[in-house]
């Protein structure tokens, strides 16, 4: 699972702040908190993904499950296409056919859910961009569905609740997202790096326990407008030790531009749908890659 390998690279470099971690074309990718999958506590989908979670060392060793490593000595399927096609590949391909069928069956939205407020959606692979104009202010929200599914912790088991086989934890994508607000004819945008705090995501029924906002702002900075490189020399405000009144003003500022709790919830729905869609597409690409046509 190549995404897990990339997570390792990011985790190693994760000490760097957002502003210095930008290796992608979009500076907006906050790489400081990759959602590393802890295999033992990962959310388990019925099929393919559960296989990846069997291994405890997946994230750190780049392990590929033995189930799929072919004994190269086994005779290849004669196909004349010039590529290697082993018995393992054939089994893999058949397995993928079933997987794809099942994933499509459980796919919640065949079309992507809309985000209310007149946002336009642009997709570029794993990256999504929502744009909207609010009385002259251009607002762009960018997020990447890679590493956007946090592991679920075994809270329910500890509380002694028994889950039936059907009640598997729902996979929810909670990507970090970046909001850029650009005033008309301005050279700079006000950029907010936002995230979904972990404890809120798990929808813990906090009875007087620590509960967090649905989404939170982590960093704020002025950056050049458009997709240019992140300007390291721009001061970046970190909200960790920020005056809370100032924080509330920043949240109100975003809310006035359509980025509020409703938006955050809908973004989660959208991201989850996109992630599932891309996952199925990936399975299909895998299938095409290993099959011999």
């Amino acid at each position: 699972y190549t995404i897990m390998l990339k997570s390792v690279v990011r985790a190693v470099g994760a000490a760097a702040r957002l502003s210095s971690a930008s290796t992608s074309t979009v500076r907006a990718l906050p790489l400081s908190y990759p959602a590393l999958r802890a295999p033992s506590s990962a959310t388990i989908r019925p099929f393919t993904r559960s296989l990846w979670m069997l291994n405890n060392n997946g994230a750190s060793s780049g392990y590929r499950p033995k189930l799929f490593s072919s004994k190269v000595l086994s005779p290849s399927v004669s196909c004349g296409c010039g590529g290697l096609h082993t018995e393992g590949d054939k089994a893999f391909g058949d397995f993928l056919s079933d997987e794809i069928k099942e994933e499509k069956k459980i796919q919640k939205n065949k079309t992507l859910p809309k985000v209310s407020g007149g946002w336009e959606l642009e997709m570029n692979g794993a990256e999504a961009k929502l744009t909207r104009n609010v009385s002259g202010d251009k607002v762009t929200v960018t997020f990447n569905i890679n590493n956007s599914i946090p592991p679920n912790f075994e809270e329910e088991v500890e509380q002694g609740q028994q889950k039936s086989a059907e009640e598997e934890p729902e996979i929810v994508s909670t990507p970090n997202f970046v909001v850029e607000v650009t005033k008309q004819a301005a050279k700079h945008s006000l950029v907010f790096d936002c995230h979904f705090p972990e404890d809120e995501i798990s929808h813990g029924e906090g009875e007087g326990e620590e509960e967090s906002d649905i989404f939170a702002i982590r960093e704020v900075s002025f950056q050049p407008e458009g997709d240019s490189e992140w300007k390291e020399t721009s001061y970046t405000l970190n909200t960790d030790s920020l005056d809370w009144a100032l924080y509330d003003h920043l949240m109100d500022f975003l809310a006035d531009r359509g980025v509020d709790n409703t938006f955050a919830d809908e973004l989660m729905e959208l991201s989850t749908a996109i992630e599932h869609q891309e996952y199925i597409k990936f399975l299909e690409d895998l299938q095409g890659f290993v099959k011999c046509n």
Partner: protein, 168 residues
């Protein structure tokens, strides 16, 4: 520290900075600025859950207070020995519930939330209304807070006329 404000709901569009400012004014009136306070804004669904768990009442309400100090004499400020005890507790504001009341009575939402929060803070400070005497004492305190609030801000707020939520 100070006031920890959380907005867990999406039903009511809240002005966080306004709410914080109003709560800070109440804290100033009561002389409790050095104490931490949690204000958590929730919808009817969440409020009903909490009300059910803690008061066995399966319905939403406007405010529920969870005091840090459980046996305070009404109005007597705690004298904590340690800095981490400088905490009055948490107030859950049923903003959806209050919003509906405001719509029915044509009231300003944030004004109503201030009144409800004042009531909640009184509970954190040991005020109760189990008896008629306690009710009178609490009502007097609330009236004082709201008249001071009016003097400081120019905003006249009506106290909660109905019996307190923690009775419902």
């Amino acid at each position: 520290m100070g006031v920890v404000l959380r907005n867990l709901q999406k039903v009511v569009p809240l002005r966080r900075a306004r709410l914080r400012r109003d709560v800070d004014t109440l804290r100033h009136i009561l002389g409790i600025q050095k104490f931490d306070l949690g204000i958590i804004c929730v919808d009817n669904r969440r409020m009903q859950q909490i009300n059910h768990i803690y008061r066995k009442k399966n319905s939403p309400t406007d405010v529920l207070s969870f005091p840090f100090y459980e046996d305070l004499r009404p109005g007597k400020l705690p004298c904590p020995l340690h800095r981490d005890e400088l905490n009055l507790g948490d107030i859950f504001l049923g903003v959806e519930f209050v919003m509906k009341q405001c719509q029915e009575e044509s009231l300003d939402l944030h004004g109503a939330l201030t009144v409800v929060t004042a009531h909640g803070i009184c509970h954190l400070l040991g005020y109760r209304h189990e008896t008629e005497e306690e009710w009178t004492e609490m009502q007097q305190r609330e009236n004082y807070i709201l008249s001071e609030y009016s003097r400081l801000t120019g905003q006249h707020l009506e106290p909660l006329m109905k019996r307190c939520s923690q009775d419902r």
